[in-house]
């Protein structure tokens, strides 16, 4: 048996609490297939275990979790075809769904980087604790992917059209901003984390009200930085409520003329650098996600991610990984290269079933009918 040094997920049992720690610091705790499988196994076991009432998730080092291990996925696809990639995401999305519909509260301590798949492993849980070290992003469009792991569910529930902004631009948020927009349920200064953890380990209840009040005892209301984009929600709403990516861009350009604020031109630059196909499917996905429960969101995202892995309509994902993760030249050559070259019919295709023998839609695990807490039922 591997020693705990090499375990990618460390497990501690503290009376009714279970502390799961991501332990892959060199990769900033990026989720490997092995970690996902392990988490699934643990969550399934905890669901039926009356001695478990609370799950705490955290990361070792300066990162909570920097995302799915995309480099490994690309490697697997090169070796074994797109199915290998699809398998990874099937497992990951199943875990996201399980977390979203879990009957016991999950507290994620986001004391560091939380990006992509890291958000999938935390945002669906009941409590998300941000700190002054938190750094949030959903940077998929820069990689030729789209905000997955159920992001079309949790981003689309943010105030106004902030979710579209985060999902399309990959903009980064600090802990105070995460708390302000609702991505984090609490903000606790990192110095108080050991005390918080100890207090949580003493709880013998799954009642979210009790747990919330315990975290509340260590929480603060952090001030937003004056130049925080969250203070510009009116502009974001005006621009990111537009129907198409092209219209969003031109709305931003109009605003840029009127108000010469740095973040607007940064936003325009970022959008122009991102994969046009990614931008279009991401916008559609978040828009559709607004009106869907978390399950259907994940089923749809699984369809989309399978299309991305197959590379039938665009190979941007592989190009993005090459430019950002492998060659690191940061100069991806997207194809199609411009927004107007991405046809609506191509965007539609990403949402259709994959035409491949024995391919199946994501099968969500059955959930217990009568003992789901109300906050879970509301997500279905």
């Amino acid at each position: 048996m591997a020693s705990s040094q090499h375990e990618q997920v460390l497990v501690e049992e503290k009376s009714f609490a279970r502390i799961l720690t991501f332990n892959r610091t060199k990769q900033l705790n990026a989720l490997s297939f092995q970690m996902i499988s392990r988490l699934l196994e643990l969550f399934l076991a905890y669901e039926d275990d009356p001695n478990v009432k609370l799950i705490i998730l955290k990361g070792k080092g300066r990162s909570f979790c920097a995302g799915g291990d995309v480099a490994a996925v690309v490697h697997d696809i090169r070796a074994g075809g797109w199915r290998a990639g699809a398998n990874f995401f099937m497992k990951e999305f199943t875990l996201n769904y399980l977390m979203a519909t879990f009957s016991k509260p999950q507290v994620s301590i986001l004391n560091g980087i939380v990006m992509g798949g890291g958000n999938g492993a935390s945002m669906h849980g009941r409590f998300r604790v941000a700190t002054e070290n938190s750094l949030f992003a959903m940077p998929e469009t820069a990689l030729g992917l789209f905000p997955d792991v159920g992001a079309s569910y949790f981003l689309s529930r943010l105030p106004g059209f902030f979710g579209e902004y985060l999902g399309l631009t990959g903009a980064r948020l600090d802990g105070a901003e995460m708390f302000a927009c609702g991505l984090a349920t609490h903000f606790v200064p990192s110095a108080k984390l050991p005390m918080l953890e100890a207090a949580l380990c003493a709880v013998d209840s799954s009642d979210p009200a009790i747990i919330s009040s315990i975290i509340g005892q260590y929480s603060e209301r952090p001030p937003l930085k004056e130049q925080s984009v969250y203070n510009r929600l009116d502009v974001i709403d005006r621009c990111f409520s537009q129907k198409t990516v092209e219209e969003i861009l031109s709305a931003l350009e109009r605003e840029a003329v009127d108000r010469r604020e740095g973040w607007i031109s940064t936003t325009i630059q970022t959008l122009k650098k991102a994969s046009p196909t990614s931008l279009k499917i991401s916008l559609r996905s978040i828009r559709v996600g607004r009106l869907q429960g978390v399950g259907p969101c994940l089923v749809r995202e699984y369809r989309m991610v399978c299309h991305v892995m197959r590379g039938e309509f665009s190979k941007d994902f592989f190009e993005g990984c090459r430019a950002i993760l492998l060659d690191k030249d940061k100069n991806p050559k997207w194809e199609p290269s411009k927004l107007e070259l991405v046809a609506d019919s191509t965007v539609d295709s990403y949402f259709s079933k994959v035409k491949n023998e024995d391919w199946e839609d994501l099968k969500l695990p059955a959930r217990p009918k009568f003992n789901l807490p109300p906050y879970v039922i509301a997500k279905l």
Partner: protein, 676 residues
């Protein structure tokens, strides 16, 4: 004394029954488990693809609708509230009238700012026509006041400028209307005249010395009444008035008059007053207008049908004043079409709420200690709601037919559009009120709560049966038009053509003497039965009217005397027309689960049409047939029951536009949700 004894007996029985007769039979002692909410999605299954079904019934601009829904649910202006962990948006109808009006204006500004109405008046063609319908239908499920403020501005004011006006009116007004610089209202109805527009008493007299029209309200009954936007909002009005030139009355014409300046100050010689609180629609500032010799330039006459030369000559391409008037009002059908099609969406909201509730709320056990029975598992509850579901699907297909008629309109098709839009507007809005009432009752006490929407919607949409043509009068117009077709066909010995009356040219369908269950469900039989009723009633009406005429009554008087047959006939026409669209939609589907479920729904709709009293009253069906129809309805409701959730989910109404009882109503009402 007897009563007291009886009561003690009853109480005694209760007590005896609840005390265990033997210890073995008594249930083990345990705390009574609380009711818990289980989302219907976890127990009901979808036998068909609900997205495909939605594509079939919504059929156009689905993405746009969803975009508007998102735009609404994402803004604080639309009064979002969290209940049971979910966000719901709907106006606060318990606010004072003034606040409701103010927030309605703000919501409209928000939508303008986001470009929702771009091209509504300046673009032409099928695409924009359909886009307008889709937007109007989507906004209607949020709030009627919002929809009506827009309908007045775009369809009535904007539409009138478009159709009654000519190029210089278009150039001057349409762009400013589309960008909300000009806020229009439509001053047609007066205190003394509503449906009878030709009787309005407002007078516009031409003054050839100054080249102006002088608009005047000569008496109190001539004050403009119920004018949406008149109290605080509108800057300009379309004024319907008699046109007086050199003492000669040329009939009703439409003029543009400014009633407020850009700062909202009422113009000189104009008086306005509020219509006050209404039973619903309080977000619309309906008001009254008096004109005290208001002068408007000659160009403000909307002159597409008739014009006045600078020297005061009346010029019209249409000589017959009756025809001139008809040409005038024909374009107003867009209002009627949009009322009809939007009404269907309110039924969708009501049914989605009531059926979702009926799939989660239980009442009474069949045996002691058994779980209580789900409301929708009671055959009686199915009988209350599921035929209405079939009716709503039927209306969806008929809506599509009506919208296509409108979109493909030509000057020759105005009569057809007039008949269908009158018939469908009246029938859909009546159906909607009936459906909402049944849904309200099916939700029990929960239906009374404002937050649960259904009851409130009844009040908000009640007016649909009156404005843009009183429903009863519209239905009379349908019968009148059918009678005119009949008389014309007989006189010229020509075949029937149009309005779906072609079946009159064929031999009369026969009802089999021995009806079987499978015959009753067949599309062909149902269609035959509906045609038979329509044909016979049309014959009867023609006979009765000519009978009265033979006695010396005028045509109009004779028709008024035959109102009962006229009512039955217009319903027969409408049922047949709606059914036809449903049967055609079913026929075009490829075999599969979607077609199967839709076929069952069509069959249920056909059967409830056959329950109309006319079938027994005039003897198209026997009393035994009537009993068989009734049995088959119950059976078919049972067949629809497993698909109930999938069928309401296919309506595509977002969760946020439903209400707390459609979801976790236990949590929504928990102590923790009480503000303390």
């Amino acid at each position: 004394m007897d009563r007291a004894f009886q009561r003690t007996q009853i109480l005694n029985n209760h007590l005896l029954q609840s005390s265990p007769s033997s210890p073995v039979q008594s249930p083990p002692l345990s705390s009574n488990a609380c009711l818990s909410y289980s989302p219907p999605e976890l127990s009901e299954f979808f036998a068909f693809d609900v997205k495909e079904m939605r594509r079939l019934i919504d059929w156009h601009h689905i993405e746009l609708r969803d975009h508007l829904f998102a735009m609404i649910s994402q803004s604080k202006l639309f009064n979002p509230r969290v209940r049971g962990g979910k966000v719901f948006v709907s106006p606060d109808y318990n606010q004072p009238m003034e606040q409701q009006r103010e927030i309605t204006s703000k919501r409209i500004d928000y939508l303008f700012e986001r470009g929702v109405f771009e091209g509504w008046l300046t673009e032409k063609g099928e695409e924009i026509d359909l886009r307008r319908f889709a937007s109007f239908e989507a906004l209607a499920i949020f709030d009627h006041s919002l929809g009506i403020m827009l309908a007045v501005h775009f369809f009535l004011w904007g539409g009138a400028v478009q159709v009654f006006g000519t190029k210089h009116h278009h150039d001057k007004w349409l762009k400013d209307t589309e960008t909300n610089v000009v806020k229009g209202c439509f001053a047609m109805t007066e205190l003394g005249h509503g449906s009878n527009v030709r009787g309005v008493e407002t007078v516009s007299t031409y003054d050839s010395n100054t080249g102006e029209f002088v608009i005047n309200t000569p008496c109190e009954s001539a004050q403009k009444f119920w004018i949406g936007g008149a109290t605080n909002h509108a800057t300009h009005a379309i004024v319907f008035s008699q046109l007086n030139i050199n003492g000669a009355n040329q009939g009703v014409h439409a003029f543009i008059a400014q009633i407020r300046d850009a700062n909202g100050k009422v113009c000189p010689n104009i008086r306005t007053a509020d219509n006050g609180r209404k039973i619903g629609l309080n977000g619309v500032d309906n008001g009254r207008i008096w004109f005290d010799n208001v002068r408007v330039p000659r160009e403000n006459l909307l002159n597409s049908v008739a014009d006045v030369s600078p020297d005061g000559k009346y010029l019209s391409s249409i000589k017959d004043p009756d025809q001139r008037f008809a040409a005038f009002l024909a374009p107003l059908t867009i209002g009627r079409v949009s009322i009809a099609t939007s009404a269907v969406y309110l039924s969708k909201v009501g049914l989605t709420i009531a059926i979702r509730y009926a799939l989660t709320r239980r009442a009474f056990s069949l045996k002691p200690h058994e779980p209580e029975v789900l409301l929708l598992d009671y055959p009686s509850h199915q009988r209350r709601l599921l035929p209405l579901l079939a009716k709503t699907y039927a209306m969806s297909f008929a809506s599509k037919y009506l919208k296509m008629l409108y979109v493909k309109r030509t000057p020759q098709s105005y009569k057809t559009i007039h008949v269908f839009s009158s018939s469908f507007k009246a029938t859909f809005t009546w159906n909607n009120l009936h459906i909402l009432q049944e849904c309200r009752e099916a939700c029990g006490g929960q239906g009374l709560s404002s937050e649960n929407h259904v009851g409130q919607m009844k009040a908000e949409y009640d007016v649909q049966s009156t404005f843009e043509g009183d429903n009863n009068i519209l239905m009379q117009q349908v019968s009148k038009a059918l009678l005119a077709e009949y008389v014309a066909a007989k006189k010229r010995k020509k075949a029937f053509k149009g309005l779906g009356l072609e079946h009159m040219n064929k031999p009369s369908p026969a009802i089999p003497s021995q009806l079987t269950s499978s015959t009753l469900h067949s599309s062909q039989f149902q269609m035959d039965a509906l045609c038979l009723r329509e044909r016979d009633l049309l014959n009867r009406l023609a006979v009765e009217v000519s009978h009265y005429q033979a006695k010396g009554l005028s045509k109009e008087h004779a028709f008024n005397m035959s109102y009962q047959l006229a009512e039955d006939l217009s319903r027969a026409f409408t049922d047949r027309a709606i059914f036809q669209t449903f049967a055609e939609a079913e026929a075009t589907l490829a075999a599969g689960s979607l077609k199967d479920v839709l076929g069952t729904l069509r069959s249920l709709y056909g059967l409830i049409c056959l329950e109309d009293a006319a079938f027994l009253r005039y003897g198209y069906l026997s009393v035994d047939d009537g009993a068989l129809v009734r049995r088959e309805i119950t059976k078919t409701c049972g067949e629809i029951r497993p698909h109930a959730l999938a069928l309401v989910s296919s309506f595509g109404i977002p969760d946020a536009f439903l209400s707390p009882i459609a979801f976790n109503w236990i949590d929504a009402n928990a102590w923790a949700s009480v503000q303390h």
